[in-house]
Amino acid sequence: MIEILSNLLHNFYYLIAIILFVIGFHTMLSHSNLIKKIMGMNIMDTAIFLFFVSIGYVEGGRAPIIELGQDHVYVNPIPSALILTGIVVAVSVTAFALSLIVKIYQHYGTVDAEEIMRIRSREV
């Protein structure tokens, strides 16, 4: 038990990333407001990014900007490079989803998923 707890405390970054992932996922699933859903999606994505970046950290390492002629320990540059791409992907999805939400508001007069379902079932 104590070993599990100490492991969890040592891997605190991973733990928090997982908790954030679950919070974001919950926001996405259970909120009926569409804008809230997109915020939940962003929280979920940033949680994964935090997880990914903390994989690359090395104890006592420096940021991977090389000082020529010096012998330092540098952190792993690959996760940083991948996450740069990931952030842009997340903002692209967000932008498109928001433009869809604007259109939905114009057509239905609401941004609430349950209300939209009600409007649609009334039509049929």
């Binding site: 992932f21 996922f25 996405m28 569409l34 859903k37 997109i38 999606m41 979920m44 994505d45 994964i48 997880f51 990914f52 994989i55 690959i78 996760p79 991948l82 791409t85 990931g86 992907v89 692209s92 999805v93 498109f96 989803a97 869809l100 939400i101 259109k103 939905i104 057509h107 239905y108 939209i116 649609r120």
Partner: protein
Amino acid sequence: MTALAAHVPALVVVNLLMCSYIMPVLARWKKHLCIPVALGSVSFSFILSIFLTFQVSRQGAFSYALGGWAAPWGIEFVVDHFSVFMLLTLTGVGLLILVYATEDLIHELKQDVVGWYYTLYLLLMGSMVGLALTNDLFNLFVFVEICAIASCAIISIKENRECIEASLKYLILSAVGSGGMLLGIAMIYMVTGNLNFTYVTEALPQAFELYPRNIMVAMSMFTAGIGVKAALFPLHVWLPDAHSSAPSPSSAILSGLVIKIYAAVFIKIFLRMFPWDVYETVPLMTIVLIMSSVGIVVGSMFAIVQEDIKKMLAYSSVAQIGYVFLGIGLLSQNGTLGGILHIFNHALMKSMLFMSAGAIIYSTGVRRISDLKGIGTKMPLVMSVFSIGAFSMVGIPMTNGFISKWYLAIGALDVDKPLYVAVILLSSLLNGVYYLPIVVNAFFGEGKESVTVHHKLPWKMTLPLIILASAIIITGIFPKLMLGLADKAVMFLLN
């Protein structure tokens, strides 16, 4: 020429992407060039795929290092039998759908967004071709995202509130799927230190001993993420709305190709990247089998009660994607062969059925199945093509649907799981229940008020239908054509 020939794997993707980059400029200043450029770039990719097929059959699988950095350092494309099989399917069917779209879109979309449609179409094609070729996990993720956004966008482009709602639902669910995939990639990278499939495969057995939970979480994340995007049964909730409300060419490409490419990604990750002996300890493939067979039956049952023809076809896609996953889950040579063949066969059938449904809607404006009585005499060509597709869906011999079901059944018997043969037979019966009445009613039914044909079909809409229908018959009578390629693909995957 010989110098350029080495760069064909990159060219086949980049050509589509570059043509899509210039498409907004063309749509603004040189509108008449949009269609020729789009058609030209897709057919150029088709020619290049044929070239790659010959190259692979001559010299075996080869890889292309992008940026000149060899495998673990850079991104690499691998051209093998499976990827050229996917390439041929994608570019061939995609070209025919594009020919159909050039005429259909004038009727379905506003004039000023047609240019954007071609942009999105080319981006979708480019990302799918990239998915078929790439051998790098993160590159795969980037292409998956392009594919997801582009496929949502070609639904929401229609001016219709159902489309926007369906598109947003699809986008949110596929964002969840992408998140799951990225978490899976993070887990794999964490324990193997590589992103390239080949190197991950090498490092996995050792990693599985040290960190089994990581690998298990990664596997379930990949299954859930790809399952959402490929509409594997309990995760299919977005598909019927999205595929039925979209413009007809979008429905054709979404149902025919996009969900198939995710199945191909599933094959790449689970049959090529993970070593097969993992499945002896992890019951993943059993879960996939159960999900897919329930999907086959339930999807067919939902399709029976639909009144809208496109909605019926969409539910039928839920059932048919189950066949592909059934073939993967059987983990036998013939089963995998059947699954891979069904990717090609269903791409032909479903895109043709959606296009003929679109042609019916284009000329008569009728969407309800009960109103289609007696349409066979008005539109004999479209309805006979539709009948060929329907027969192939049911799996009547002489059509290609029969071939893939045959191999799936043999594969199920090979690994001693006769239950799944029963599932296949039951589903063929159910397919017959909802497809054959349409055909019978169309030719022999007497409608109360007969349907009127408003528009005559232009040749650009009938030509793809005829080509696809004859392809279904030809590959049904001479199965050796695609079977040879698919067989080599399976042999490659088994290694």
